[in-house]
């Protein structure tokens, strides 16, 4: 008896032919409609979401973002996150005080000729969105994730709203086009591009905004 090879019977040949015809028809339909075959939308796993969150965290804790997410009565500036000069203070609404508002200097766009960064409605994030402690130490990934997903602290934003915030908020977008310093040098950029940041946020949201466990 020969092993490994069995000559197909007539019934088997017929079903194989049918299968090949169906496949050919499928490709023909795809070609005719111009549509692209997408694999099934696999649910994003928690592990994927946590990995995406770490990417988001890397942007949130960059100076272009965290300088305005302080726990203190003042913003920070510069890559070394020193206290903002000119004695500017937070004020009751995070926009400064009457004769020294954020918009006293910061306009709706970057002023590269004078080295002033700018975007619409320049202001501090509320204290509920502080991402560092009172000693200016950056909070942990778990702590910031916890704060950012706490709807009692984040202006009642769910995952979709967080994604929208990361995609559309002018002050968030500014971080990726922060303008030039007075000496003409470009301000340093976050570790992700804007598109990468939005993609990571989307993946994190799709996974249900998981947070690392507090150690």
């Amino acid at each position: 008896m020969m092993l490994g090879h069995v000559a197909p019977s007539g019934a088997t040949r017929k079903s194989s032919t049918m299968r090949y015809c169906k496949i050919a028809l499928l490709f023909a339909l795809v070609a005719l409609t111009g549509c692209t075959y997408n694999p099934p939308n696999m649910a994003t796993t928690r592990a994927d979401g946590l990995a995406a969150w770490q990417q988001v965290y890397s942007v949130l804790t960059h100076p272009r973002c965290i300088n305005c997410h302080t726990a203190t009565n003042y913003p920070q500036q510069g890559d070394d996150r020193h206290r903002h000069f000119a004695n500017v203070v937070r004020g009751p609404e995070g926009k400064g005080v009457p004769a020294l508002q954020c918009v006293t200097c910061h306009q709706d766009a970057n002023a590269d000729s004078t080295g002033l960064p700018g975007a619409h409605d320049w202001h501090l994030a509320p204290l509920s969105m502080k991402w560092q402690d009172l000693n200016d130490k950056v909070l942990s990934s778990a702590e910031i994730c916890g704060a950012i997903t706490d709807r009692s602290k984040n202006n009642n934003r769910d995952g979709a709203a967080l994604l929208k915030h990361h995609t559309e908020e002018p002050l968030v977008l500014w971080a990726f086009q922060p303008g030039r310093r007075i000496d003409g040098s470009m301000r340093t950029l976050p570790p992700l591009t804007r598109e990468e940041f939005v993609t990571a946020t989307r993946k994190w949201v799709e996974a249900g905004t998981p947070c690392p466990q507090t150690r």
Binding site: A86, L100, C105, A111, T114
Partner: protein, 155 residues
Amino acid sequence: METYKINVNGVSRQVTVDPGTPLLWVLREELKMTGTKYGCGIGACGACTVHLSGVATRSCVVPISLVGNRAVVTIEAMATDPLGRTVQDEWVSLDVVQCGYCQSGQIMSAVALLKSIPKPTDTEIEESMGGNLCRCATYVRIREAIKSASQQLKR
């Protein structure tokens, strides 16, 4: 070079300058309005303070291209502004001024403060005025003049 129309103290003015020219230099060099002073050029001292649509603004760091159609008000207009005149009178009454260089900015900031908070506390005065530097250290008299002007206000 581009041409800009700006409203300064209620008058429409036209200038042709580089878009990146700070408003301070447009006022001083193009419009010959030298009441607003240059102190640092980086928004740190407040000597260049004007009002843009009522907001105290550091004119040395705002390029003319970002002014838009916002009304510019300078120290030159304070004599005819009821609150500005009150502040100036108290500045004179309490002999606030020494060299005088920072005082245009001090008065513009004080007027902005009193327009927003007619009866400011000492803390509110210090926070709002804390960005206006005075090398002659007239701070004590500045604070007293603001409080005195506040008492004159009919609100």
